[in-house]
Symmetry: C2
DNA sequence: ATGACTGCAAAGGGTTTGCATTGAA
DNA sequence: TTCAATGCAAACCCTTTGCAGTCAT
């Protein structure tokens, strides 16, 4: 029987409070809410919450795993420059699963899409840096 | 100036020979072709080949990175049970990039799709195990 | 002769695990 | 009372790095 401890609730709230945080970021947030809490507890609870489908685990190239308090299926965008993750408004397309399943006779439970590029904010910074460049 | 060493060629051939191998698997294969080679050399060359676009790096949940000698854009399917990665025949859809870009004003360089489920082979094994179950 | 590359071993980042203890049911 | 959960430290896995030596150009 699972125990729904104060720590677990705190971890869940911390994930919801932050924007696609890493475990480390969750830990920092959680520490402010409950300085007693340990890193292992954060990891353990993140894993339990993900397993229960209450949060979503995102894996991104070259970085620690990130978490998303919005557990509904949706797509993500990763900025190649700042590493930030954005939610993509494009609606989830369950039909993509059927579209490829028949051919291979495979069973598809889900799919994820990760878009990548340089986000608006980073491109603006680049522009500024460009015009400011008075070598 | 890059040197295109024997080791680099061996690593490239090993990746091509195997089916979405991990670095560890590449290392084992490479060892058979050239027992002298070191693990760090495999990692360094994998990174160089990926950087040059000659192979593709795949990241999958809960596993080491995998590599694909087919560097062309295509989608992948990960079996939740055996962890094997399959190429998906569904053609790449560059239009997905435009489809979401206008709304957010984001710049999209590329996207990846990872399908997940239990592969045909694993489902057959499950069936066999099921019918054999004579508790 | 140069400097990119190598092999080795050690270090690094991120995550999990063992253990004695605590606390929710 | 019980056993899931905690906090801590150590262990773990995967990957990168420092270094002295090597080899292609």
């Amino acid at each position: 029987m699972r125990r729904n401890t104060a720590q677990r609730q705190t971890v869940h709230r911390a994930v919801a409070l932050l924007d696609h945080p890493s475990a480390e970021a969750v830990y920092r947030q959680v520490k402010e809410m409950d300085p007693q809490i340990g890193l292992a507890t954060v990891y353990r609870n993140i894993n339990i919450l993900a397993e229960e489908g209450q949060i979503q685990r995102l894996i991104v190239p070259g970085q620690a795993e990130r978490y998303d308090a919005d557990a509904r299926d949706h797509y993500h965008y990763l900025c190649d420059t700042c590493g930030r993750i954005y939610d993509v408004k494009m609606p989830y397309r369950p039909e993509l699963n059927e579209e490829f399943a028949p051919g291979v006779g495979q069973n598809i439970r889900t799919h994820t899409i990760l878009f990548q590029g340089v986000c608006k904010e980073c491109r603006q910074k680049e522009d500024e840096d460009g015009s400011d460049s008075t070598l």
